[in-house]
Symmetry: none
Subunit: 216 residues, 4 copies
């Protein structure tokens, strides 16, 4: 019981590393098996086939991520805080799990095509969290009512994703934390409802953004 789950995860994590390095199609089952320290055949005791490994990589990890993100957001009072935490969570995700994130980002697109039967529901669930925060912000009047949460969630996600992917691919050549922070402010500036006043100064003390104050 304990044992079997242990080996399941051993293979799953090995798969993440191998997929990150070679890509799903170039990765061989034997690569994964070797990386996991098991025999080729053993892989098939825990996974239906090669596709299933990728699916499990998605499901297991996204599920974990989703739960964690939900938990973190649930304790926060408003959409502004939640949005900021959402941004911050991405950074932590990328920093702590480069390989996993690379696999999720790169392979999820490919997978859509070769796995007709598998719809990445968890991926959409993930985006829906962002969408909910945006909607909540609209309803509470902190975000402009003109924004379309269903589209903006993709935009925000895409922006963060691309920056993070570059960061991963460049081997951490810049400060991802500051980059995403800056990104958050830009987005906020773009979507926050400005009731005749500078909301940001009191909203939070963001690093080095005194210029924003000049908004009036």
């Amino acid at each position: 019981m304990k044992k079997e789950r242990e080996k399941f995860f051993r293979i799953l994590d090995a798969a993440v590393r191998v997929f990150a390095q070679k890509g799903f199609f170039k990765a061989r089952i034997s690569d994964i098996a070797k990386e996991a320290g098991v025999a080729d055949g053993t892989v098939y005791l825990y996974f239906k086939n090669k596709d299933d490994i990728l699916i499990q990589v998605f499901e297991v990890n996204l599920d974990r991520i989703l739960k964690e993100l939900h938990l973190q957001l649930s304790v926060l009072p408003g959409p502004l805080e939640k949005l900021e935490r959402w941004f911050r969570y991405q950074v932590e995700l990328f920093q702590s799990n480069k390989e996993l994130v690379e696999v999720l980002i790169v392979e999820i697109r490919q997978s859509r095509r070769f796995m007709k039967e598998y719809t990445p529901n968890l991926y959409f669930a993930y985006l829906d969290i962002l969408g909910s925060v945006l909607k909540e912000g609209k309803e509470e009047g902190v975000f402009v009512e003109t924004l379309d949460a269903n589209i903006l969630k993709y935009a925000i996600y895409g922006a963060v994703e691309e920056v993070a992917l570059r960061w991963v691919l460049k081997g951490g050549a810049f400060d991802i934390s500051r980059a995403i922070d800056g990104l958050f402010l830009i987005w906020l500036e773009g979507i926050a409802y400005k009731k005749g006043a500078a909301f940001l100064p009191e909203a939070r003390n963001v690093p080095s953004h005194t210029h924003n104050g000049g908004l009036s």
Copy 2:
């Protein structure tokens, strides 16, 4: 004669369609040949191998796109107009060339891994255009001096890309034109230097903004 460029492009375009539908790895040479209406062997008269087809898809099309984008931006007076045109150009690109764009977006990431020798220079050249516009805007004082063009270009690109990709994948379920317009305004709001006033109304006559289109 030698000038059978016609057949080269016939195969190249067929490859775009097949890659868009099945993905590079699942696509068979025979699929492409059949789609192009030629024999399998004929493909090898115009392309070195399967990888080369993908490389050519990148190079030929990105080169064409790059030239066109350069041309369109070169006639515009300032960074604001250029940035808007950049957004608008994306829309046109996606609308007129769904399959090509899908291939470019999805496969360019995979390609990084299996084509070690091939660096997608044209892809970076494409992003550099956006980066230049952002830098130009900073220098001219229309964008805030705190923005990091080298990171922001990825963010903006990523946002547009993700929205467009969803639009492509959903089969045009929403008004991409309005969506990107709205996105442009948000970004602009986020990065434009605001000299003590609401700049937008007088800054330019952006498409009225009341529509704010797909984002509403």
Copy 3:
């Protein structure tokens, strides 16, 4: 008329060079065509197929060689002179036509297997000349009556061939002329009838070789 034969030989000679360099199986029709300075299709105006080219290389050249050898031997008085001339002719052949000889030697063996329908009659005709000289020598009493011309012709041919082939492959690293001369003397010593002396019995006590076996 003149023209067509000219091109036939142009291709034939090109084939010899290409076969010598790459071997029959590795040689491509396009290699031969390029070497001959004609289009691929032109080859098929003069030859039935690839196999036919090799057959023609054999037939045409062996025929020419055979006629020349016949001519040279026919003017000589006795088998001894003929045998010497035969040796000398080999040297000239190898020296003047390295590539052709290499093709004839190496490919004729392979060809036996893949060209069931083609029996290298001319090759046997060539060896028969040597056989005839040996028989003539036996009849005239200049060679020992115990030699088996039908086997010895292969032996002598094989000895000369192997030495010549090494000379070709080593790029003329030794004096082929002297080597073949020495070889001739050794063979002569071995097969010439020595009047007035039964040489073997006292020459050495060879382990039980009174039978003198297959050559009798």
Copy 4:
């Protein structure tokens, strides 16, 4: 287990049979696999590729032959006995292993061209044994000092090889044992030092032939 050398040899021997029948280039991997009673893919568990099969056929068998020949010669007292045993060993080789010998003889020539990286060292090692015997004979005074062992080894080998090959190709139409015995005597007569008669000095002015008389 790991020690599936049995299957390695099963495939290797199958390859010898198939190569002997169809030649290396005409032989298909599937032919060899079927002959060995394994699946096509299994061949690649034991051999790198098709070329490697031929290389292994050379190496494994020549190595075995070399060792055996060395062993047999090492127990013999002098070069004369060794030379005779060398001849006798050829006969046994051809008789017991027709197909292998055919492959070794015919393919080793082809191989020189398509396997640039592979130098048939073992083939040369094999010839060097013969060369050593000849040199030893010269030093001990049993062979004439005028012979060039480095060339003669090729000649002797070539003679034996060609006769043996004909025997193989003709399906054993003559008594190979007696043929090679006779060949040995002829060579011996040609190269053995004959006390009481220096034949070579005056022998050089050939056709004259009178020198033979002086043998007594």
